[in-house]
C-alpha cells in the first residue's frame, strides 16, 4: 500500500495502462509538456514519448473525433477533457459516434475509448469549470459512465475503463484531487472488484444514502453527524453511474426502507431522478417514505462565492434525512401541489 493523492493515483493508473498495452495512448490539451492542468499526466510525455502522450490542438470535437479514428484502427485512446464544461463541444462525437459505432457496425468496430473528465464544483473555480454533466451521458445508450471517489478506485477503475472494450466516460471529482488515500499499486487488476459494482462505504440501518464522486465524502460526513443524533445512515458509493448496480442498491433499500439521493448536478431529470425511479420501481413495497433528492438547484452553476448555496452540503443532506424520516425539517408544514 502506498499513500497517494487522487491525482497521483490517476497518473499511476495511466502509467500502468501505457506500460501494459502499446495500443493505449493519451490525448488532450496541455497533457504533455505541462503534464495536464491538474498534473495528472505529469512525467508521462518524457516516459512514453509524443506518439503516446499527445498534446492536441485546442478542439474537443477534434480530440474525440480523432480518437474515434484511432479506435477504428485498433488503438485505445484515453482522452482528457480539460474541464467538465468543455465536454460539450465534443458532445456530437460522443453521443452520435463513440456511443453508437459498435451498434451501427453490428459489432465490427469497437470503441474502447476512455474519456476522462475532471469534474464538478466546490473548488471556487471560474465559470464553466464546475459542471456536472453526468446525466447526459447516463441517458446515452452505448456509453458506460463511472465516477470515482477515492485514490484506490481512481487507480483501479481507470485501468478497468481503459481495458474495457466499451467506451467509458470517466468522472474525476476535482474537489478530491488532492485528498490522499492508500492505494495498492501492485494488486492484480483481475482481483479488483468490477467497475460496475457499487460499494457500501458505511453500513447503517435507518436510511440509505445513494451518492457518487465528491459527494461520497460529504455523505460520509453527514453519516458521522447523524450518528450523534442516533440516526444510522448506510452510504452507498455508486461508482458506476451507468449501468447502476441496482442489486447493491435495492438490497440496502429493502433493509432501511428509506432513501436519500444526493448529487451536485441539477435535480430536474438528473441522475437522482433515475435512482428514485429505479428504487421506487424495485422496492415500492419496502419504502416507508418517498425517496428524497438532495441536489444542486435547477440553475446554471453560480459564481464561485455562491457555490456553497448550490452544492448540497452536510446540512442539506441531514435535512433530507430528516425529511425521509419525517422528523422536523425545512419542508415540515409546507403545502405543495
Amino acid at each position: 500500500m502506498t499513500e497517494l493523492t487522487m491525482v497521483k493515483a490517476l497518473g499511476a493508473g495511466l502509467r500502468r495502462a501505457l506500460a501494459d498495452d502499446p495500443r493505449v495512448l493519451l490525448m488532450g490539451e496541455d497533457i504533455g509538456r505541462l503534464g495536464g492542468v491538474f498534473r495528472v499526466t505529469d512525467g508521462l510525455l518524457d516516459e512514453f514519448g509524443a506518439q503516446r502522450v499527445v498534446d492536441t490542438p485546442l478542439a474537443e470535437a477534434g480530440i474525440v473525433g480523432t480518437a474515434v479514428g484511432l479506435a477504428y484502427r485498433g488503438y485505445r485512446p484515453v482522452v482528457e477533457i480539460q474541464f467538465d464544461g468543455f465536454v460539450y463541444p465534443a458532445f456530437d462525437q460522443i453521443v452520435a459516434q463513440v456511443a453508437k459505432l459498435h451498434y451501427r457496425t453490428r459489432g465490427a468496430v469497437r470503441m474502447p475509448i476512455t474519456i476522462r473528465v475532471p469534474w464538478a464544483g466546490g473548488v471556487g473555480a471560474a465559470e464553466h469549470h464546475s459542471e456536472s454533466p453526468e446525466a447526459y451521458f447516463v441517458h446515452t445508450s452505448g456509453l458506460r459512465v463511472v465516477a470515482v471517489s477515492n485514490p484506490q478506485d481512481a487507480f483501479v477503475m481507470l485501468r478497468q475503463a481503459i481495458a474495457s472494450d466499451d467506451p467509458v466516460v470517466f468522472f474525476e471529482p476535482k474537489r478530491l484531487y488532492h485528498a490522499k488515500g492508500e492505494v495498492d499499486v501492485d494488486a492484480d487488476l483481475a482481483d479488483a472488484p468490477p467497475m460496475g459494482l457499487a460499494r457500501v462505504v458505511r453500513e447503517g440501518a435507518d436510511v440509505t444514502v445513494l451518492t457518487y464522486g465528491g459527494q461520497v465524502t460529504t455523505a460520509m460526513d453527514a453519516a458521522t453527524a447523524a450518528e450523534d443524533e442516533g440516526i444510522s445512515l448506510e452510504v452507498i458509493d455508486l461508482r458506476s453511474l451507468s449501468p447502476v448496480d441496482y442489486r447493491t442498491v435495492t438490497a440496502s433499500v429493502r433493509k432501511t426502507g428509506r432513501v436519500v439521493v444526493t448529487h451536485e448536478a441539477a435535480k430536474e431529470a438528473g441522475l437522482g431522478a433515475e435512482l428514485v425511479a429505479g428504487v421506487t420501481e424495485r422496492c415500492f413495497h419496502h419504502l416507508e417514505a418517498p425517496p428524497v433528492r438532495v441536489t444542486g438547484h435547477d440553475i446554471p452553476y453560480p459564481p464561485a462565492k455562491l457555490e456553497k448555496h448550490h452544492l448540497p452540503d452536510l446540512d442539506r443532506i441531514l435535512d433530507g434525512v430528516d425529511r425521509v424520516l419525517d422528523r422536523p425539517n425545512s419542508l415540515s408544514g409546507v403545502e405543495r401541489s
Binding site: 473525433g65 484502427r73 459489432g107 465490427a108
Partner: protein
C-alpha cells in the same frame, strides 16, 4: 494584406479546373496530372469505363428498388461516377476511406458485394457491410463527422509505421461544419497521412454551394497548411491522377493533401427530394453535356478501345450486379426482434441483459395467441 483569390460563380463555373479529358473526350495536356497517368492504357480505360457504368446502373437500381418499396431511401450518385471511381482506383488495399452516404462508387471499387448495398437503405441495419472486410468505414450521415475519424485513423497508421493512408470523402456542404475544419487543423498539426476529398456536387440538398462559400473550397486548405487541388470531377482520368498525387503526398510522409472534385449531383438529394423546387432544368442540362461516362467512351473510341463486345460485357456485369441487389432484397428475412439489443455494448451489461429478457418475455406473451 492577403486577399481571397477570386469571387467567381461556383455553381456552374468549371474554368480553372485541372483536367485532362475535354467534354468531347479529347485529351488535354496537363503536365502535373499527366505525370500521374503514364501507365494509362486501353485496358485501364476500359476498367474505368466499366466500373463507372456499373456504378451508374447500380445507382439506378437503388432508385428503382426504392420506388418499388424494397428500399426505404436511396441517395443517388449519378453524375459523380468519375470522381468516385477515379479517386478510389488510386487507393491500395491497406488504405482506408471514410465516406458519407453518397459514395456508392467508392464502395463498389473497394469490392462491396451487391448484397452489401442493401441493408442500410432497406432499413435493416445501419451498416450494410463490415468496414474491415472491404476497407471502408461505415457510411456517415452526420455531415462532416467522418473527416475527423479519417484523421484519427491516419494518426494510427502513423504510429503503426506503415505507408497506408486514410481518406475522408465529404460534400461541399460539409465544408461548413466545425468538424471538417478541425480535421484540417489536426491533420496539419500531426502531418497525418490523410487525403481530404471534397466532392463539390454544387448542392447541399437545396442549397447551392454559394451558400457555403463564395470562393473555391479547395482554397481553404492551403491556409491550414495543406496543399490542395481543384479538378474536374467529371474527368475520371483527372480524378485518378489527382488522387494519385494526393495519396503519394500523404503516403510519403509529407502530411495531408486536399482535393476538390468539381462535379454535379444529377439526381435528387435522395429519393425523398424534389429538386425541381429549387433548381432549373437548364442547369441540369448544362451538366448533362459534361457527362463523365460519355466522355470516357469518346476517348475509348478514339483510342480504338471500344467495341460491341466490350459494351456488351460491361452491360452484362452491370446486369448481374443489379440482379444481386434485387436478390438481396428478396432474400431479406425479418431480423430477430431481440437483435435490437445486440452490440449495444461489446461486453456484458447487466441492465441491458435484463431489458432484453423482459422484452423477450413480453413478446412471448403474444406467441400463443398467434398460434391459436
Amino acid at each position: 494584406m492577403m486577399y481571397p483569390r477570386t469571387d467567381h460563380d461556383l455553381t456552374t463555373g468549371t474554368d480553372e479546373l485541372a483536367g485532362v479529358l475535354a467534354t468531347d473526350g479529347s485529351r488535354i495536356p496537363h503536365p502535373q496530372l499527366d505525370a500521374w497517368l503514364t501507365d494509362v492504357d486501353v485496358p485501364m480505360l476500359r476498367m474505368l469505363h466499366r466500373d463507372m457504368t456499373i456504378v451508374r446502373r447500380l445507382d439506378a437500381e437503388g432508385i428503382a428498388l426504392q420506388r418499388q418499396g424494397q428500399l426505404g431511401l436511396w441517395a443517388p450518385c449519378r453524375g459523380q461516377e468519375a470522381a468516385q471511381v477515379g479517386t478510389a482506383h488510386a487507393l491500395r488495399t491497406g488504405d482506408f476511406p471514410f465516406t458519407s452516404y453518397r459514395e456508392a462508387g467508392v464502395l463498389f471499387v473497394r469490392g462491396a458485394r451487391p448484397d452489401e448495398f442493401i441493408p442500410n437503405w432497406r432499413g435493416e441495419a445501419h451498416s450494410g457491410y463490415d468496414p474491415y472486410r472491404i476497407g471502408v468505414a461505415t457510411p456517415q450521415i452526420i455531415i462532416g463527422a467522418q473527416t475527423l475519424h479519417a484523421v484519427g485513423y491516419a494518426m494510427g497508421i502513423q504510429r503503426d509505421g506503415v505507408d497506408d493512408i486514410a481518406v475522408a470523402y465529404f460534400g461541399d456542404g460539409a465544408t461548413s461544419q466545425g468538424d471538417a475544419n478541425e480535421a484540417m487543423v489536426f491533420a496539419a498539426s500531426f502531418e497525418a497521412p490523410v487525403v481530404f476529398v471534397c466532392t463539390n456536387n454544387q448542392w447541399a440538398i437545396s442549397e447551392p454551394v454559394g451558400v457555403q462559400s463564395r470562393f473555391p473550397l479547395a482554397d481553404r486548405a492551403p491556409g491550414f497548411g495543406i496543399p490542395s487541388l481543384r479538378f474536374d470531377g467529371n474527368d475520371v482520368l483527372a480524378s485518378l491522377a489527382a488522387m494519385r498525387w494526393a495519396a503519394d503526398h500523404a503516403r510519403s510522409g509529407a502530411g495531408p493533401a486536399y482535393l476538390e472534385a468539381v462535379t454535379y449531383r444529377m439526381g435528387p438529394h435522395t429519393t425523398s427530394d424534389d429538386p425541381s423546387r429549387y433548381r432549373d432544368a437548364a442547369e441540369v442540362e448544362h451538366w448533362e453535356a459534361r457527362d463523365p461516362i460519355a466522355r470516357l467512351e469518346a476517348l475509348l473510341r478514339a483510342e480504338g478501345g471500344w467495341d460491341d463486345e466490350f459494351a456488351a460485357d460491361e452491360k452484362a456485369a452491370a446486369d448481374e450486379f443489379c440482379a444481386g441487389m434485387r436478390a438481396a432484397c428478396l432474400a431479406a428475412a425479418d431480423r430477430d426482434p431481440l437483435s435490437v439489443f445486440d452490440h449495444v455494448y461489446a461486453e456484458p451489461h447487466a441492465g441491458l441483459d435484463q431489458e432484453r429478457a423482459d422484452y423477450a418475455g413480453y413478446l412471448a406473451g403474444f406467441a400463443p395467441e398467434e398460434e391459436s
